[in-house]
Amino acid sequence: MLDLGTFKALLSSLVPVSRTHYQIWGNNKEMIFSTEGVVYKELHVKKCQNLSNRITVQNGFQYSAHDRGNFLCGIPLRDNQGVFAALLAYGKKPNTSSRYEAGNDTEADHPEEMERFLNNLKMFVEENLTAKEEAEELAQELDQSFEDLYLYGKISTQIKMLTFSDKMLKNLLEELLENMRVDAAFAWFPDNVQYNFKVIAPKIYNKFLAPESCFENLIHLIPPDAPILNENYFIINDSQENAQYKALAMDPYRFIAVKVQHLENFYGWLGLVSFDLNEIFRQGELKLLRSLAEQLAGVIANTDLYKNLELFIINMVKSLVFAIEAKDVYTRGHSERVSKYSMLIGEQLGLSNKEYNNLKWASILHDIGKIGIPENILNKPDRLTDAEYAIIKEHPRKGGEILKPMEQLTDSIPSIIHHHERYDGRGYPQGLKGEEIPLGARIIAVADTFDAINSVRPYRGARSQEQALAIVEEVAGSQLDPNIVEIFKKVYKENLIIEKEEKICPIVQNTMTLKKSVAIK
């Protein structure tokens, strides 16, 4: 209801000076205000009510004169939706004799005077109310834009995280649900169903006839030729307007969906549902949602690029490994096996994701430095000369140098450089001791030693796995970290013994599993 406070005060103060009383009547035939307190004659009230009706229906000034100089008149009050009340004035007509003294007025002029007077009053109140209403509306809009700004700020912080993840998407949807005051928020990615998420206010879950597939259905029902699709969104402010949409839920709802799209790549939809039809999706909300969808698409695209890059690097690295292994006939498949053993040890140790990935790279690349060693030294069946051995000993350091320009591998390099250190400090290149040696390097050393003994070497034949394990155990504490050896024994018993009869695992198969594990991540 409009606040008529100051107007009522004005009317009250007019009573003694104008000797007229005032009333305000609402549209539903009830008195909102009277300057005369609460005691009236019933007949008078009836008259006023009738007049206020007439004013509302006729939408104009009404005047009636009664006996003994009494009059009753009134005028409609309007706001932008039309007449909302009637302003009534009544009393005795002014003393005629004094009026004649004042000038040329006649009694017959009274209705006109009253009309002018009431009209001025009415204009005063209407202008006042409109201004107030406009100010209120502006303030509401301001309030809304503050909320939008807040929401936008919160959500863009979520989105700024470099990579796209389930958690980020879930947070995003929860924020949307809470701050946009809707009943459901969802993300629908037809080609990446693992990213499909929905957040639903529990109270509305049963309103959809097929709650499990409702969001899928909402998207599928979007007419492909809807003109607003050119703007990358779709909106239904009342599901009753569309038979198909209406059929999805028991109660009417509104629905908005925006495309998650980056350049030419379409990923899916971001959607909101609300069962509150007193509100609509505002322009501001649409803008916000579209901009969020755009940012989200950007993040997904970056993540895709990142994944592609990672895959590219993996393949690069593999070709490097193949290149060195092609030179050294005796070590074919060695790097893949060392990597496999190292990974098993790493899993057993419960390495973090990051440590595990670093170990993955370091173990597969640990011998990359051999690329610079002449083949005749690598494949020499006789004992190496000191000079030749010195060249061999260069390979961990060289490996580090080769990989240095690859930023993604920075954290793997220490494990490559130090994989020939010994636990007792008598290894190379730096003679690090015990825990000084990076953990990754200590793991690779165990895997490397085991596989070297277990494989054919230019100067000897291959030993059995049992023999190899026995030797590894023997050098635990001197050459190798005894804790890692213990873990390797466990890993060997649980995983490797089964494969004992198998020949060297084919590289291709390993490649496949590696690819897969990356793609899932």
């Binding site: 303030a139 509401q140 301001l142 309030d143 503050f146 909320e147 807040y150 700020g153």
Partner: protein, 127 residues
């Protein structure tokens, strides 16, 4: 809707004052406004508001000085202070922790959340 609680909004930005004024008036609060810390402090002493919402960066007297000064008053009369500020650094956060009955909200803030925090505080007082 009427309640007898007084809210003082101190901010040099008119639109922030306006938005909070509307928000609290609509919920029956009496709203008083000030454009800087000095005006604000004067009002706090004379009109004893129940809730003070203040910006940090303001001319004449900033929100920090104001909070330091009003924190002393809280020994005698408790009221809630909500600091609204664009960026909060860890030192400021620690500083706010040392103040009695003081919260902060980062700008851009949600007017609805400020109302929520105020009503939670008032509810907690058992009023």
């Amino acid at each position: 809707m009427e309640n007898n609680k007084k809210v003082l909004v101190i901010d040099d930005e008119a639109q922030i004052r306006r938005v909070l004024e509307l928000k609290f008036k609509n919920r029956g609060y009496q709203v008083i406004m000030a454009k800087n810390g000095e005006q604000g402090f004067d009002i706090i002493q004379k009109q004893k508001p129940d809730i003070v919402i203040s910006d940090i960066n303001m001319p004449i007297m900033d929100g920090k000085t104001l909070c330091e000064k009003t924190n002393g008053l809280k020994k005698y009369r408790s009221f809630l202070t909500i600091i609204i500020t664009a960026r909060i650094n860890p030192e400021d956060r620690d500083w706010i922790d040392t103040l009695q009955d003081t919260l902060f909200m980062e700008k851009p803030f949600s007017p609805a959340r400020i109302v929520e925090a105020v009503e939670q505080y008032i509810g907690g007082q058992g009023c």
